[in-house]
């Protein structure tokens, strides 16, 4: 118990670093996904833009949602938001704090994907290759080409093998130009994100530090309380099961005494621990019956008070049972899956 408390405490005080770890893993996973992804520009006039922007914008959205899903605290936030008021008021600043900290962590992997994509340049090259300024970079005076044909030619820029517009504009020139713009966008994006993060982090102690400490304490408290409640319920379930099974075996042995009168009485001088643990079942037939009875007819979820030492036999005789056992059978079967 002590060891669990210790580990629990360590995790609680390092809850934030645990979440930061998951966040870092997701960022690494997003770079890995990008390098493993086989980028194939379609090299057709209208499809390029859709493909390029799709690869640029859809995976970050997925990663953002995944960031929320993988965060354990989302269910805690939802529960705290939707619970009825009861005897405890709800504090909107706590909810805001929890949501903000989750959103900040969920935004890191999409930002990493966007930066890596922009710095690599393939997406922007694919998406905007038809917008290259041919007048500035190539021979705009190349005759006999309708705008549609020019578009088709330019759309093939990302696919070097099939590019046939070398007279119009050299492939390397166009690719370098687009890549330069893409990398400039990428670094600007990273700078913007970093500046935002810096401002958010450094302006907070200047304003509302006390409110922040309060929200942080209570959000940790809600989390700990939920975990402790689960732990207490698990302990309770364990004790419940132990007593229930003990009472089942006792019931079995008294049943056998009543039905067969075969069981030898417990010699009071001899009751070592081993004999007690046998719970009165001392031969193969009885054990088989106990096992069969456990399968066919599980005991009701209702614990009797412990038997008085007058040896009354049937433990539950002193009090009327709360409900008849028959309607419980389906409930019992349902519970035994938990």
């Amino acid at each position: 118990m002590d060891k669990f408390r210790m580990i629990f405490q360590f995790f609680q005080s390092n809850q934030e670093s645990f979440m930061n770890g998951i966040c870092g893993i997701m960022a690494l996973a997003s770079t890995q996904m990008y390098s493993a992804f086989d980028f194939n520009c379609p090299c057709l006039p209208h499809y390029n833009l859709a493909y390029g922007l799709g690869i640029l914008l859809v995976p970050p959205f997925i990663l953002f949602l995944l960031g929320f899903v993988l965060n354990n605290n989302i269910s805690m936030l939802a529960e705290e938001w939707r619970r009825p008021r009861g005897q405890r008021g709800k504090d909107p600043s706590v909810l805001r704090y929890m949501f903000c900290s989750m959103a900040q962590r969920a935004m890191i992997a999409p930002a990493v994907w966007l930066s890596v994509t922009l710095l690599d340049g393939k997406c922007i090259t694919c998406a905007f290759c038809t917008w290259v300024p041919v007048e500035a970079l190539g021979n705009a005076s190349h005759p006999h080409l309708s705008p549609g044909e020019i578009q088709r030619l330019l759309a093939r820029i990302p696919c070097k093998e099939i590019y046939n517009g070398q007279q119009l504009i050299a492939n390397e020139v166009a690719v370098r130009y687009l890549r330069c713009i893409s990398q400039a966008l990428g670094w600007c994006f990273v700078l913007l994100m970093t500046t935002l993060a810096f401002l958010v982090r450094s302006l907070r102690p200047c304003f509302s530090q006390a409110a922040f400490l309060k929200s942080r304490y209570w959000s940790h408290y809600i989390d700990i309380e939920r975990k402790l409640f689960d732990e207490t319920c698990a302990e309770h379930a364990r004790s419940f099961a132990k007593v229930c099974i003990q009472q089942f075996f006792e019931g079995m042995s008294t049943d056998l005494v009543a039905a067969r009168c075969h069981l030898p009485r417990k010699a009071p001088a001899d009751t070592g621990e081993a004999a007690e643990k046998l719970l009165g079942i001392t031969d193969q037939g009885t054990m088989n019956m106990a096992l069969k009875s456990w399968h066919r007819c599980k005991p009701p979820l209702h614990l009797h008070p412990p038997a008085l030492p007058t040896g009354n036999g049937w433990a539950g005789e002193g009090q009327p049972p709360m409900q008849p056992s028959a309607p419980r059978r389906e409930a019992v079967a349902h519970y035994s899956w938990v």
């Binding site: 060891k3 405490q9 970093t194 700990i224 008070p305």
Partner: protein, 306 residues
């Protein structure tokens, strides 16, 4: 228990070494980012300078901001700076010390980036190939200014058809790289001499003030960590009491509403304690439902008085 306490104590007493570790990691990360970054100079007259200087200066700003964000002590310093005086005076020397140590650590990664960039040379070749004096090099005679500019702009791109085997391109490239590396090594030398002098000469001036400032900045850092730890411990105990109180009140409610009271038998007291009077499927269901619909108030004063 002991081992965790020891680990905690180690980290608390060595928050400076943790920060040094982060600083070193960031410097390594900057080298790694530079080597994995695919530098491609646009080789166009107006864009070269912007691209080259951009790659040389924008990532250091980003790394500097990252260094400030990742450093826990910057938050501590800001809080100390902005807090109301209350019962405790504010010592500007401590704040200055913390500020300078944070800035020094944050400057390491940007400086590493700039030096690596200069020693590698690609950025400077890209940025300043158009500013080279074409008179000095053989292959640029007999050409108009515009053409010369275009050709010079293409120097950084080795695969350009026009420039592939051009000796004048190689000459310009070597010249610029030489300048870049000289600049890089000079900056490195100046910085190391400055660091050496600062560290060597510091004990000669105001050593006592420095020791005080360092002690109190460590103290403030540790105090905040201990406060956070105590808050965690407190919230754990608070939650524990709250839940026990909840189970107790549930037990009493059941006693009030049901007429078959479970008798407090003598046997198996340990299990009875853990069961807390809840011995029935319906009672468990009621407890769980009440936990959701009516969470107990955040007030364990009655529990304390028991």
């Amino acid at each position: 228990m002991d081992r965790f306490r020891m680990l905690f104590q180690y980290f608390q007493s060595n928050s400076e070494s943790v920060m040094n570790g982060i600083c070193g990691l960031l410097a390594l990360a900057s080298v790694k980012i530079y080597t994995s970054f695919d530098f491609s100079c646009p080789c166009l007259p107006q864009y070269n300078m912007a691209y080259g200087l951009g790659i040389m200066f924008v990532p250091p700003i980003i790394l500097f901001l990252c260094g400030l964000i990742l450093n826990r002590q910057s938050l501590v310093m800001l809080e100390e700076w902005r807090r109301p005086p209350g019962h405790r005076k504010k010592d500007p020397a401590v704040i200055r010390y913390m500020c300078s140590s944070i800035l020094q650590r944050a400057m390491v990664a940007p400086v590493v980036w700039i030096i690596v960039t200069l020693l590698d040379g690609k950025c400077l070749i890209c940025a300043f190939s158009g500013s080279v004096d074409p008179e000095k090099f053989v292959g640029f005679a007999n050409m108009s200014t515009g053409q010369v500019q275009q050709l010079l702009a293409k120097v950084p791109c080795k695969d350009e058809e026009l420039m592939r085997n051009s000796t004048s391109r190689k000459a310009v490239s070597r010249y610029l790289r030489c300048c870049s590396q000289a600049l890089g090594w000079s900056i490195l030398l100046i910085l190391i001499i400055a660091a050496f002098l600062a560290r060597w000469l510091r004990p000669c001036f105001s050593q006592a003030t420095l020791l005080q400032a360092r002690h109190w900045s460590n103290y403030i850092d540790m105090e905040q960590k201990v406060f956070e730890e105590t808050c965690c411990e407190h919230s754990r105990l608070f939650a524990h009491k709250c839940i026990l109180h909840f189970f107790e009140s549930m037990r009493q409610e059941i006693k009030l509403h049901s007429f078959s009271l479970p008798r407090e038998g003598e046997g198996d007291e340990g299990e009875e304690d853990l069961l807390r009077g809840i011995t029935d499927q319906d009672q468990v269901n009621k407890l769980l439902k009440t936990w959701y619909y009516e969470k107990p108030p955040l007030d364990v004063s009655q529990a304390q008085q028991r």
